[in-house]
Symmetry: C2
Subunit: 277 residues, 2 copies
């Protein structure tokens, strides 16, 4: 792992701030190909939007240039051109107490790892998806934001263990929200259906790519509440996130499902890079 | 501010771990008097219970001895005998990803500050309490735990600003849960009423002291769901937390309230230290 902490390049980072005290910040996980960030404009748009929602001061300068320069430096210094870059932007440093001064400066930490190669079968055959007990919080002011309050994902991942590739989480209202580490889509009678994320969950950048690309294809899209009972009726499904792209589902809560036609189109669009255009 | 990070005493701490990445940990805020922790057994009990709920490995050795030794060292090195000690226990260090190894070791960081002296009027006249828009998350697996996912408290504190001493937060079901930085109690017809924290909120140690002491006094206690509409009907109220103790309410959502008899009893029990016995 390679780390840059507030402009300093370090082998190992030690950094204390409001991220560690209150999870008072955001993060963004980006796939780097040939030293460049895939889907950069979408990452920048999401980050800007989420910073504004949390009233966190944006870093000085152009965010797009900043992220690109981090990616370039990381790829260069690590000699790893294809990696995963995680950027944490916290509100900054402060002492004890939830309050903060208006002049507080954001603190940026950047992590870089070699991209883990998933087995081919993940994409050709699909993966098993189960339903978890661990819930997604209901918190409208935080819903959709990729903030640092991720304890429930940690618990979900632990509960999932090795029983399946991914586990779906519901909220207290019994609505399906997302996977422990991905967004989820269902393909049914040619339509694309995905959970509404106004009460719970993280609106992933790859989810945005999927929605935009499906729209271009003229596919009917439903973003809505999905109850657990409905899962039994959906024909196909897939997962999305910025690191692993589009992952078809081969079983949903122990029920075998085939890989759908639209899923295959989206998977190919991701593999070829067309989905980022 | 004085800091100890994993046994090292530092003027300023830099520490990176799962607390900063995922808010994967707990914290405990304790009042130190004469180098000793007030309500130590209750803090230890709560911490042990919350560590177990999150499946975080407890620190090696006796937790009570460990906290006492931190308090002693801090009071000694800072020459501040009466302070506030904040202890963060995170699950430990790991690289990218929500998963962790079973052998992961907890990481402890200890902060120490001089105790801020609240004006006398806070205790003699009471404080203003308003209702905030910022909600408490609904997440049963995390409810009650003093974990590090505190972004909503940060937002609540920001919303509160200088409009009042404290702001109450509700959850998405319209239930009153707690203040941005305290638990809340209502005194009505001689009864003590406080929100149930099974879906949302933090079960503070001072809340435990209040409940135990009221029980000793033979007071009828109701721990239950409280809707916003009910707030208009309660005769008296007070706030509690480990740092500021018991704080009477003088206005509740712009309605003047008198300080109740039971509130005064509890306040005196805290001021004299009897509440800790």
């Amino acid at each position: 792992m390679w780390v840059i902490d507030n402009q300093d390049y370090l082998g190992k980072l030690d950094g204390w701030n409001r991220s560690a005290q209150f999870a008072d910040g955001l993060f963004e996980t980006m796939r780097i190909h040939d030293g460049k960030i895939l889907g950069l404009p979408q990452h920048v748009a999401r980050l800007s939007n989420d910073l504004a929602r949390l009233n966190i001061q944006p870093p000085a300068g152009d965010l797009s240039d900043l992220l690109s320069s981090y990616a370039h430096t990381m790829a260069d210094m690590s000699h790893v051109a294809d990696g995963v870059m995680k950027v944490i932007i916290s509100r900054g440093d402060s002492e004890r107490g939830y309050g903060y001064h208006d002049e507080i400066k954001p603190h940026i930490t950047v992590f870089y790892n070699q991209a883990a190669q998933l087995p081919d079968s993940v994409y050709t055959k699909g993966v098993d998806v189960v339903l978890l007990q661990t819930q997604c919080a209901i918190q409208p002011q935080l819903a959709g934001i990729k903030h640092l309050n991720r304890l429930e994902n940690v618990l979900a991942k632990k509960e999932l263990g090795t029983q399946a590739f991914e586990g779906l989480m519901q909220n207290h209202l019994g609505l399906i929200i997302e996977g422990a580490m991905s967004n989820v889509f269902f393909e049914h009678q040619g339509q694309l259906i995905t959970p509404k994320l106004t009460l719970s969950g993280v609106a992933g950048v790859m989810r945005q790519h999927v929605l935009a690309f499906a729209d271009k294809l003229g596919v009917k899209i439903e973003i809505r509440d999905i109850s657990i009972d409905e899962l039994a009726g959906f024909e196909h499904g897939f997962l999305s996130n910025s690191v692993m792209g589009i992952v078809p589902v081969k079983s949903l809560m122990q029920r075998d499902v085939k890989i759908g036609k639209l899923t295959m189109q989206l998977l190919k669009a991701w593999q070829s890079g067309v989905i980022y255009e």
